[in-house]
Amino acid sequence: MFSWFKRKDKSAKIAKDRLKIAITSDRTGTEIPFLEDLKEDIIKIIRKYKDVSNIDIRKVNDSISIEVELR
């Protein structure tokens, strides 16, 4: 019933959420300098068998996690 008082998220909150995502992705880019080349290579290999729609590579602690989305 108090939802009437709750307006949309304040812009500072939106800024914080957006920054967290942007910075996480920026940091991945600098942590894996060969990221783009690796992405292309993996897409080439998998496309021999299945079409790829998206690929996500990120650094998790000391390992690299690769998620391939098929079309």
Partner: protein, 270 residues
């Protein structure tokens, strides 16, 4: 032991030069020998903020090239006998910078001064990398605004991967200055507060400088705002200089003008 402190930001226009001038002068007014060096080769700004533009004869590139001695190029501040200034070159571009020469010059500065503050160029190009190369610590200047915070994170990343100290596996101290903080906007939820910024950047906070119209008035006259005892921004820089030189000084979160009793209480205890 003396210390090289790089003043960095990532994005330009957040008040890096103003911060260098004021914190440097604050350190000097705290009776410590301090030199501020304009590393923004080709753009020369710090001389104007310090009101020393008419005294510039030689610059740091001439010192590095051995054309003149350090003593010939150093300019004494009008506001404190403990503060000296080393100007940037205006005619040459950033490509003249050479690690070995920079290292040698900074070593010489370290022998003369307790605090060596380097005003980094904006961006994260080669000029920036040379500024952080020999840094023992960094003052990271941000505005409570998305592009400034994002770019500062990249600058911190370069500091942590390319400075000599970081490469040697040592810790480069990092201190965050939130500049141009507008308490009224923060209270309305229209601007990131200090807690949010610290949560995103996770480095140590050393001070919050409120948005202050006096800063432009001060730079118009070449009189850093720290010399104005009534200015809120000046007081904030004084506190930052104290903390940087190891004195105890509280971090004061600027208050909104009409914050009511709760805001006032919070202000008292923080």
């Amino acid at each position: 032991m003396s210390k090289i402190i790089a003043v960095i930001s990532g994005k330009g226009g957040v008040g890096k030069t103003t911060t260098t001038a004021n914190v440097g002068l604050g350190i000097a007014l705290n009776r410590k020998q301090c030199v501020v060096v304009d590393f923004d080769i080709g753009q020369r700004n710090l001389d104007m903020i310090l009101g020393l533009e008419n005294r510039v004869v030689y610059d740091m590139v001439q010192v590095m090239d051995g054309e003149v001695t350090l003593d010939q190029a150093l300019i004494k501040s009008k506001a404190s006998r403990n503060l000296f200034f080393l100007p940037a070159s205006q005619t040459k571009d950033k490509s003249v910078l050479d690690s070995e020469k920079i290292g040698k010059m900074l070593q010489e500065l370290k022998e003369k001064f307790e605090y060596v503050l380097l005003d980094a160029p904006a961006g994260i190009e080669s000029g920036f990398e040379h500024t952080i190369e020999f840094a023992d610590a960094a003052l990271v200047v941000v505005n409570p605004e998305v592009s400034s915070i994002r770019d500062s994170d990249r600058a911190i990343g370069i500091l942590d991967s390319k400075s000599k100290k970081a490469i040697a596996g040592e810790d480069v101290e990092k201190f965050l200055i939130i500049n141009r903080f507008d308490a009224d906007m923060v209270e309305k939820g229209e601007m990131l507060n200090s807690e949010d910024i610290l949560d995103i950047l996770s480095i140590e906070l050393i001070g919050i400088v409120p948005e202050d119209r006096g800063v432009i008035d001060a730079s118009n006259q070449g009189q850093p705002i720290i010399l104005n005892p009534k200015a809120e921004a000046g007081k904030a820089y004084t506190r930052i200089a104290k903390r940087l030189t190891g004195e105890k000084s509280p971090i004061v979160e600027p208050r909104a003008k009409n914050s009511g009793i709760f805001g006032k209480l919070k202000g008292m205890f923080s």
